[in-house]
Subunit: 469 residues, 2 copies
C-alpha cells in the first residue's frame, strides 16, 4: 500500500528539503506538513501502529516516524525513502519530536543480501564494501568529524592572521630526497615529457610555503601529499592530507611549539566543551564492541588530559637519557645515533609523560638540509610532537635562512644545487628568519577520534596495491 507522494507546488521544489540535522536543530512548528528523505534504519510494527527509525547521515540522530502497519509492510532496512507527514511532539522519551507519516514512497530498494543490517560489522569487513561503509553510524560520524575539524582549523588560522594557500601538487624536482616519489606523465605522452622535464607528486608543500611566507607573512595549506612507500601498516597511506604552516620572522623553535600546541588545543577545546555538537557526534556513534561507556570514557579522558595540561618540551638528549634510565627493555635498543623508534616515541608520550610531548634539537644528521643549525653546531632547531599511542604527529623547524650556510649544507650532502635554485632565491633576495611545521591530518583525526586504522578516516584510501573504488 505504498502511495506516491504528491508535491505541493513548483515553487517549493526549487529549494532543498531540510535534512534531519536541520529539522532537529531548528524544529518546524508543530503540526507542520513536511517531507523527509532518508534511509530506513529499522522497522518495528505493533498491531495498530508501526515505527520507522529514519537516518540520512546529516547527524548521528535518527528521526522517529510513526506510520500505519500497512504502509510499513513493504519497508526494510537500508531502503531510501521519502515520507510525507506531520511534525508532532513525541510521546516517547528518546526524542522530542516525531513524524506522523501519511504518505510513503520507496525511492531505492536494496537487494536481499544488502550487507548493512542492524548489527555490528567489523571495521575490516566494512573496508571490503568501500561505497557502502560510510552509511554506518560510526564511520559517518568520523567523516562528519573530519569536516568539523577542517572548518575549525580554518577559523583558527583566520583568527591568527594566516592566509590559506594552495602550493602545487605536481613538482619539478625531487628536492627533499625524502621517501619514495610518484612520477607523473601524460597518458598519451609522445616523445617529449609533458612538463618539459620529469615531474612528481609532492611529498610536502613546505618549500613552496616558504616562498609564500616570505610574501604574505603567515601561511598555511591543507593539501594532498604522496609517498610511494610499500609499507603496509595501519598508519601509512600513499595519498594523505598534510596540514603545513610557515611563519615569517620567527627565531626559535619555542615559537613553533607554542603555536602548534595552541592550534591543537583549539580543536580539543571544542571537543571538551562540545561546541556545535562536535563531541556528541563522536560519542553517540561509538561502537559498542568493547562497551559503550568504556569507549566514551576513554575518549573523554584523552581530550581532557590534552586540554588541561601544558605539554612538556624536552631536548633529544634528554629524551635519550630518560629512555636509557627507564630500565625498560625496548625491542629496538636506545642509541643516540639511531634516533627515536616508534616504540620509543609511544613510550615517552604514553608511559612516561602521559601527555603529548615536544622533543627538540635533534642531531642534524637525522634531519633534512633546510633546518637551522643550533649554536652547538651539531643539533638543529627542530621539534617533533609525540602523542600517546600514535607517536609522532607533527614535525617542524626553524629554517636556515643564511644562503651561505645552506650552500654548505647542500654541498656536504651532495645534493643538486641547480634543482634548488628557485628555493635558494628566497635567501638571495631579502631573506627572513622563518620556520614552520607539518601535521599528518589523518593521524591527528585518528588520535582525536580514537580510530586506530588511518583507512577509517579517509573516504577512499590509497596505498600499495590498494586503489579500489
Amino acid at each position: 500500500m505504498i502511495r506516491s507522494v504528491q508535491w505541493h507546488s513548483k515553487r517549493l521544489q526549487h529549494s532543498l528539503a531540510p535534512n534531519i540535522s536541520q529539522l532537529l536543530k531548528k524544529p518546524p512548528a508543530l503540526d507542520s506538513a513536511l517531507t523527509v528523505n532518508g534511509y530506513v534504519k529499522s522497522v518495528r510494527s505493533l498491531k495498530k501502529v508501526s515505527f520507522v527509525d529514519l537516518f540520512d547521515g546529516s547527524t548521528h540522530e535518527s528521526l522517529m516516524c510513526v506510520l500505519s502497519p500497512a504502509d510499513a509492510e513493504q519497508l526494510k532496512t537500508g531502503q531510501s525513502v521519502r515520507f510525507q507527514g506531520t511534525w508532532k511532539q513525541s510521546k516517547g522519551k528518546e526524542q522530542p519530536f516525531e513524524l506522523k507519516t501519511q504518505a510513503v514512497e520507496v525511492l531505492g530498494d536494496v537487494p536481499a543480501n544488502y550487507p548493512l543490517q542492524k548489527k555490528l560489522h567489523s571495521l575490516k569487513f566494512l573496508r571490503t564494501i568501500p561505497t557502502l561503509r560510510w552509511k554506518t553510524g560510526y564511520l559517518s560520524s568520523i567523516l562528519r568529524f573530519r569536516s568539523q575539524v577542517d572548518g575549525r582549523l580554518h577559523r583558527f588560522f583566520e583568527d591568527e592572521g594566516f592566509f590559506k594557500t594552495n602550493p602545487p601538487i605536481i613538482t619539478g624536482s625531487d628536492c627533499e630526497g625524502a621517501g619514495e616519489l610518484f612520477q607523473v606523465e601524460s597518458k598519451s605522452k609522445e616523445s617529449q615529457p609533458f612538463f618539459g622535464k620529469s615531474a612528481y607528486l609532492t611529498v610536502s608543500t613546505q618549500l613552496h610555503l616558504e616562498v609564500l611566507c616570505c610574501a604574505l607573512g603567515k601561511v598555511w595549506s591543507l593539501s594532498p601529499t604522496f609517498r610511494a612507500e610499500e609499507s603496509d601498516t595501519n598508519r601509512h597511506l600513499s595519498e594523505f592530507w598534510m596540514l603545513e604552516g610557515e611563519i615569517a620572522f620567527i627565531d626559535n623553535v619555542q615559537q613553533l611549539t607554542k603555536f602548534t600546541e595552541r592550534m591543537i588545543k583549539s580543536i580539543v577545546k571544542d571537543l571538551v566543551e562540545d561546541n556545535n555538537g562536535i563531541a556528541t557526534n563522536l560519542l553517540k556513534s561509538q561502537r559498542s564492541e568493547e562497551g559503550m561507556e568504556q569507549a566514551i570514557g576513554k575518549l573523554q579522558q584523552r581530550w581532557s588530559s590534552l586540554y588541561t595540561e601544558e605539554w612538556p618540551c624536552i631536548t633529544y638528549s634528554e629524551a635519550l637519557d630518560i629512555l636509557k634510565r627507564s630500565g625498560v627493555k625496548f625491542q629496538i635498543p636506545v642509541r643516540y645515533e639511531d634516533g627515536l623508534a616508534s616504540e620509543h616515541e609511544k613510550w615517552l608520550a604514553g608511559e612516561h609523560f602521559h601527555s603529548p610531548v615536544f622533543v627538540v634539537d635533534y642531531p642534524k644528521e637525522m634531519k633534512p638540509f633546510y633546518m637551522k643549525l643550533n649554536d652547538d653546531n651539531s643539533t638543529v632547531a627542530c621539534f617533533d610532537l609525540l602523542v600517546p599511542e600514535v607517536g609522532e604527529i607533527i614535525g617542524g623547524s626553524v629554517r636556515e635562512h643564511s644562503l651561505e650556510k645552506l650552500h654548505t649544507e647542500i654541498e656536504q650532502r651532495g645534493m643538486n644545487k641547480q634543482d634548488l635554485q628557485w628555493y635558494l632565491s628566497t635567501r638571495e633576495n631579502a631573506t627572513v628568519p622563518h620556520g614552520g611545521f607539518g601535521l599528518g591530518f589523518e593521524r591527528l583525526l585518528c588520535y582525536l577520534s580514537g580510530v586506530s586504522n588511518v583507512r577509517d578516516v579517509v573516504p577512499f584510501p590509497r596505498a600499495h596495491d590498494e586503489c579500489e573504488a
Copy 2:
C-alpha cells in the same frame, strides 16, 4: 649606523610578533614599545628625519616608520628589516599611527639588480620571477583574496548543512573519458604497477562525491584536479582547484541553479558590503596602468550587478534561438548540434543578458553518461552557468539514479561497465535521486577579482611545458 635590536625577555620571544595587519586592526596603546618586521617599500629622507614605508604582505596597507637619517642611510627598497620603536599617533593624514623607530636591523639584503623596485611591472614580467612576484602589492592582494574566498565558502557550506570531504586524487579508472589524463606510477617501479593496476590523477571528484552524498546527504570538496591538455591559453591549467558539491534527494535542476546562485552571491555580498575588508584589499591594490579609478569602478560595477539582480535561466534551445535571431556575425556559426562556443557563451552573458545566465537542458549527446534524461528523451537535466567575459564557470546536473537507465547509457556509449562497477553500486543499493555541480575555483577568482590570466591567481601554475619553481 645600524644597531642590533636587543630582545626583551625569553618569555616574549615565544609568542609571535603582531604583523602590520594586526597592529592596524587592534592598535597597541600609544607609546608602547614595539618590534615590527617587514620589507622596505620606500625610503624618503629629509634633513632631520627619514620615513620608511614598511610592508609585510599581511595587508594592502604599509606602516609608516619615522627614523633618523643616519639609520635610514643604509636601507633600500626590498630589504627585510626588524625595527624597534614606539607606537605613536601619526602627524600625517594617510594613516592614524606610525612607528617612531629607535633601532634598526637589516635581516636580509637585496642584490643590486633586485627587480621589485617601486614601479609598475607588467604581469607578464612578474611571471618570470615566480618566487618574488607574490611580494608585489597587486599579486599579494590576489592571494589574500583567494584565502578569504576559501574561508567564506567554508562558512557558507557549514551554514547550509554540508560536510567537507576529501575524495581521492589518485583514481583507478578513466571513468569519465573526459579530457586527457595524467598517469601516476612509482618512480622506482619494478615489474608490477604500484597500485596493482594503472592509476591516474583525478579530472573530477564527482563520482566519488556521489558515493559520499548517499552517505552524508550534502557534501562538497575543494580539490586539485588535473588535465593533460596542451592548450596554451590564459584560462587553462594542467593543475587547478575545483569546487564540487553533491546533494542527495533533489529532483530537478532548478534546485541546483538556485543553490549555486546563492553560493556565489554569499561571496559577492561580502564584496559589496566589504565585510572583513575583502573588497578594500582588492580595490586599494588595483594596478594603476589603466587608471586607478577606472579599475576600481569596473570591479565595483561587476559586483553590484552580480548581487542585485536575479540571474536569468534559459534552456539550450532558447539560447540557440537568441543567438540565431541576434544578427551577430559570430566566427563560429550557431548550430544546434555543435553546442555553444566560448564566444557564444560570452556574448549571451556579456552582451545579451549583461548578467550571469543559467543555460539548462542541453542535448544528451553533448553531455556525459551520468546525467539524468529529461522526459523529452533527448535533453538532460543539466545546467551551465555562463558569466560575462569569462564564459562557463559552473557545470552541473541531476544524476541518473536508475540503474537500468545508466546501464543502457553506458552500453550505448560503448563504455567499460566493469570499471564503473563501484560507482554503479550506489544505484544497486538504495539509490537516491541526487545532483551536483563543479566550479572552476580559479575561474571564479579571476572573475570576481578582475584578473584576466588564471596564472595570476595560482601561486605556482602548472601547464604544458610549465613547471618552474
